[in-house]
């Protein structure tokens, strides 16, 4: 690399690298949730990312950074509720996800969130992920979560700088399908309310996009038993 970088381009370089890490975490997140993303997209090298998503000055151009992905077959299976009398052929409760990076560096309020909600609604995305550089205002949070029939999530860029699920102290979380959940409850003769719980706002639950009422299996290493599985009901 060149030695005589001006301070501006050092700044730009740092921001670009940080954003690249966030970008990769987003793709890992999509992969872990079960969306169709390719290996190259997840493993994008910094140089490629820089050429693709920077403006002429070397700063990241967030307007270009929009992703949408479709769920895989496996994910659709997991999100299909069990057939019931009133609903004999249930449809999977998941669909195309849309990720947008907000270009505004300060003060993200209801205006941007409203535009985002409108875009998600207009293009008929099932889920929207809104990523900002700064925290968004309380009314904006309320507005984001109040879209009827759609799921809109919010992350800050710094939340996704590292992938928390890759940390050695974070055990593996696996979402159970309604069928698996039913079998679990039957095997242990439980009601779902008798399971231990996990909050929707839990960092890993947010990462996996868990919804109220689902059950996750948490597999951790155990000194004595090798592996230990526990289950959590999302509330």
């Amino acid at each position: 690399m060149d030695e005589d970088y001006s301070s501006g381009s050092v700044d730009a370089d740092r921001e670009m690298t940080r954003l690249w890490r966030t970008w990769r975490t987003v793709f890992e997140m999509l992969l872990d949730r079960g969306y169709e993303v390719t290996e190259e997209e997840v493993q994008i090298p910094l140089a490629v990312f820089k050429t693709k998503y920077s403006d002429p000055l070397g700063y990241p151009d967030r307007n270009k950074m929009k992703v949408s992905a479709r769920p895989t077959e496996a994910m659709q299976m997991k999100y299909t509720p069990l057939p019931s009398k009133s609903n004999p052929t249930p449809q999977p409760d998941c669909g195309t996800i849309y990720v947008e990076f907000c270009p505004d560096s300060t003060g993200v309020g209801t205006k941007q969130v409203r535009a985002f909600n409108h875009f998600v609604d207009e293009n008929n995305f099932h889920t929207g992920v809104f990523i900002t550089q700064t925290p968004i205002s309380p009314s904006a949070v309320r507005l984001l979560s109040g879209v009827p029939g759609r799921i809109c999530e919010h992350f800050q860029e710094q939340d996704l700088l590292v992938n928390i699920t890759r940390h050695e102290l974070v055990p593996k979380h696996v979402l159970l399908s309604p069928d698996e959940k039913g079998r679990l409850l039957e095997r242990y003769r439980l009601k779902e309310s008798q399971l231990p719980r996990i909050q929707v706002s839990d960092p890993v639950a947010r990462y996996l996009g868990l919804r109220r009422g689902q059950v996750v299996k948490i597999i951790r290493k155990s000194e004595t038993a090798g592996r230990y599985a526990s289950y959590r009901w999302v509330i």
Partner: protein
């Protein structure tokens, strides 16, 4: 039955309570007959509950009561959010003067603020600042932007505002507080509104609660107090001692009352008046009659005294050596 169903369709808590008390009053007969005690349930509710034994319609009423409360809270929050989004666009014209706002704007602003809590108002200010506007809703100007990067600012008051009337008052203010407004005057106006808002969330307020409904702008309040001050000064100068004495004379209890009348009045004030106690409960905000008796039926049952008069213990054989320990007599060695 059809009448009951008709009542329940109103979805009023009192209706549910009425049906609950109706079935509660005759639990023995229903249980004896084998029919589940849900005579007051609507068809749908009955369908889901009738196959379960031991269901209590009172539980249903309580659950519905809570569900309705939560729904009311959600509705109120949505309403406040809508109002915030509306108020961000205020005032209607960009040339409006914050010190003398147009009557329509002021009226709309004041009526929109009625369900607000101070925290919601803070959200509104934040939202306006994000839009680049002054935090005071009736001000069309942009908010201040300090270019230096320090986190705090020193502000100086006017001459003679310092301690003891000498020098200038000095304040150290966080930058973000200063940047909320276009000027100190607007800050004062906005904060004057804020202190008038009711602390209680709107879904917990009672019908007759007037706090937070009569909001005055700072200018109105100033005009009013000025007028009042003038009026008071005038009155004080004109009222004479004689007039005051005359007014006091009017305050005397009417002479015509006999003692028996007074006793009658006192009797009417009795606490055990059903209609009045209901009224009182309504005034207190206990709107749900099903909950008058509490969530759980409490039936205190005193143990009857079975033992007769207490007698002093008497010495038994072996007691001089310590006696038995719960039937075991230790042996001497």
């Amino acid at each position: 039955m059809s009448l009951d169903r008709h009542i329940l369709k109103t979805s009023l808590p009192s209706a549910h309570a009425a049906s609950a008390s109706l079935t509660r009053s005759k639990p023995v007969t229903t249980r004896g007959g084998g029919a589940p005690p849900n005579a007051g349930m609507s068809q749908q509710e009955k369908g889901s509950l009738s196959n379960r034994p031991g269901t209590d319609p009172r539980h249903m009423a309580i659950a519905l009561h809570h569900a309705r409360q939560i729904q009311a809270q959600k509705d109120a929050e949505a309403l406040i959010l809508d109002r915030i989004l509306d108020l961000v666009q205020f005032p209607a014209s960009s040339s409006a003067d914050p010190s003398s706002p147009s009557p329509e704007d002021a009226r709309a602003f004041k009526s929109a603020l009625i369900p607000f809590q101070p925290a919601d108002y803070d959200n509104l200010i934040l939202e306006r600042n994000i839009e680049g506007l002054c935090g005071y809703t009736l001000c069309p100007h942009e908010h201040r932007k300090e270019d230096s990067r320090g986190a705090f600012r020193i502000t100086w008051g006017s001459k003679g505002s310092g301690p003891g009337g000498r020098g200038r008052e000095m304040n150290i203010v966080p930058r973000e507080k200063l940047e909320m407004w276009c000027s100190d005057a607007c800050a004062e106006r906005a904060m004057f509104i804020r202190v008038q808002l009711a602390e209680q969330p709107v879904w917990e307020r009672r019908a007759g609660d007037t706090r937070g409904t009569h909001i005055l702008l700072l200018e109105e309040e100033r005009a009013r107090s000025q007028q009042q001050g003038k009026g008071k000064g005038k009155k004080r100068s004109t009222t004479t001692v004689n007039e005051v004495a005359g007014q006091l004379g009017d305050l005397h209890v009417h002479e015509g009352q006999s003692p028996s009348d007074v006793f009658d009045h006192m009797a009417n004030l009795s606490v055990r008046d059903d209609a009045r106690s209901q009224e009182l409960a309504l005034e207190r905000g206990d709107v749900h009659p099903a909950l008058y008796t509490g969530r759980v039926d409490i039936n205190v049952q005193e143990n009857s005294h079975t033992a007769g008069p207490v007698t002093a213990p008497q010495m038994r054989p072996g007691d001089e050596k310590g006696g038995s320990i719960e039937g075991y007599v230790p042996r001497d060695h």
